[in-house]
């Protein structure tokens, strides 16, 4: 059975994944996950913001050793290194931290697209989280 890792942050629709974020009506600051108050100006006038599509890579690193629990694949062998980064979804004022999917070493400034990543814990479940996939050729 495939389950969403947390439906308060991620909505998996027929047309693809959507990140549930929020935008402050007072100052325009964007938050992910949704914030009850604006973290910048503390205003309470918050509207939902759906983040989809493309984003630009701001920074990145590699994860070259297997993380401990609660990482869902902490028991998976052999461990395969993965990349993580912060990306700026186009037309937002936020950088989102995410797993990166791509063949080679990431490059700051490259474009990515929001997608999903299935994690396979030992208990046999399939847990879907979000990730960004490189669209650089």
């Amino acid at each position: 059975m495939t389950i969403c890792i947390d439906d308060s942050i991620l909505d998996i629709t027929n047309s693809g994944p959507v990140l549930r974020a929020s935008r402050c009506r007072a100052c325009g600051h964007d938050s992910f996950p949704v914030s009850e108050r604006c973290q910048r100006c503390m205003a309470e006038e918050i509207e939902p913001l759906a983040i989809v599509g493309r984003a630009q890579l701001w920074t990145w690193t590699s994860q070259d050793f297997c993380p401990k629990s609660p990482y869902l694949e902490c028991d998976k062998k052999p461990f395969e290194s993965y990349y993580v980064g912060y990306l700026n979804p186009l037309n937002t004022s936020v950088l989102i931290e995410s797993r990166l999917l791509q063949p080679g070493q990431p490059v700051i400034g490259d474009l990515y697209e929001l997608t999903t990543l299935n994690l396979l814990p030992e208990n046999g479940a399939v847990v879907t989280t979000f990730a960004y996939r490189s669209i650089a050729i």
Partner: protein, 382 residues
């Protein structure tokens, strides 16, 4: 900041010990008392902290119940900075003439395990493989190198210096030198940071006795005046650990804010400092902190290292005892070790690692998650 001096320092050497964390704290306090020629019954108030080794005020079980107010302090890796600042403020406020700042710790081996709920973050963050401090340090320095056109090879230069200084520091945990090639061949943990570029959790204790300056000469022949002792938080938008998202507009870091306030309090500038201790959780932190504390411009670090400015004998020796990289990080004690090393340097007690030409002004900066920085400026009393 007029009126407060350091008259006693003591360390229970960092590394691995058969003693409990509290016992290591007591060893440090006894050493500091001996250094100042004082008894535990002379201490009028105390501030201390530990992450994994118990409540600091339980030190009274080992040192004696004298009825003083012993305040437990907890500010992550910046705990030592908060303890010394609080002790100095107690003297400034007239609450005490003689005060103690102490820290100790004993951590399990390996990277600190963090729980998302302790940080107000959903479980999805850890489950997705994002909740690792090593990733944060890798991403922060990767962007910094990119923004300021710095070559990643400077990371191995900083690490080489840390081990070289540790090797001539009798109480340092890591006593082995490594070449830049050795460092660049150690395991990659989070690009561009390799295993030998990181400090490790460790054990140890550190204690400092402060007093009203007018009394200082009664206790130590070379008192160290605390010219500034400042702890500050961050502005919204600073890049900190365990952030599922960040605003695109950056705010000033805790270190930038604390450093400006400390120089203002002391009435001196970065160019006046003769010796410094800067938080080096990993090699990239020392690079960033050189600029965030005002010692060089952002992007100048490559030239600074090429010229050897941060070596013992350079124009600003940094982390003369090998810093966190060579000493490990017992969280509660780490910020106090920095101050103790600078006191030894200002007193001329640095042994083989002594900075030449009788340094007069010293500087320490400790940084803790999620965005707390403690800065001290110290001066050898004339």
């Amino acid at each position: 900041m007029s009126g407060v001096a350091i008259v006693g320092v003591g360390l229970s050497p960092f590394g691995r010990s058969s003693m409990s964390g509290l016992q290591q704290g007591a060893v440090a306090v006894r050493a500091a008392l001996e250094d100042a020629g004082l008894q535990w019954t002379d201490i009028q108030c105390a501030y201390g902290g530990s992450q994994d080794a118990g409540n600091a005020d339980a030190l009274a079980n080992l040192l004696g119940h004298t009825g003083i107010h012993f305040t437990n302090i907890w500010n992550g890796c910046a705990t030592g900075g908060s303890a010394i600042s609080a002790a100095a403020n107690a003297i400034r406020a007239g609450e005490a003439d003689i005060a103690l700042a102490v820290g100790f710790d004993k951590h399990p081996r390996g990277a600190f395990a963090a729980k998302p709920s302790d940080w107000g973050i959903g479980d999805w963050y850890g489950e997705s493989g994002l909740m690792l401090t090593t990733q944060f340090f890798g991403m922060k320095i990767n962007r910094y190198l990119h923004d300021h056109a710095l070559d990643p090879s400077i990371l191995a230069q900083v690490s080489r210096k840390a081990y070289a200084n540790g090797a001539i520091t009798p109480h340092a945990w890591r006593q082995q030198t490594f070449t830049e090639a050795d460092i660049n061949q150690s395991d990659m943990l989070s690009y561009p940071l390799r295993k030998l570029m990181f400090c490790s959790p460790a054990e140890g204790g550190a204690a400092i006795i402060l007093c009203r300056s007018s009394l200082a000469k009664d206790f130590h022949s070379t008192p160290i005046t605390l010219r500034a002792s400042v702890v500050r938080g961050r502005e919204f938008g600073s890049f900190e650990v365990f952030s599922p998202s960040l605003p695109t507009a950056r705010g000033r870091s805790a270190t930038e804010i604390a450093s400006v306030a400390a120089f203002e309090q002391a009435g001196v500038g970065p160019g006046d400092i003769d010796v410094a201790q800067l938080q080096d959780t990993e090699a990239g932190a020392e690079i960033i902190h050189l600029a965030e504390n005002g010692f060089c411009e952002h992007g100048e670090q490559g030239e600074w290292l090429k010229q050897g400015h941060t070596e013992i004998g350079g124009k600003l020796p940094v982390n003369t005892d090998g810093g966190c990289i060579a000493n490990g990080e017992p969280v509660g004690a780490s910020g106090l070790r920095q101050v103790i090393e600078v006191c030894w340097q200002l007193r001329g007690q640095g042994g083989r690692r002594q900075v030449p030409c009788q340094p007069r002004l010293g500087y320490t900066q400790v940084y803790g998650a999620p965005g707390i920085s403690g800065v001290n400026i110290l001066e050898r009393a004339r």
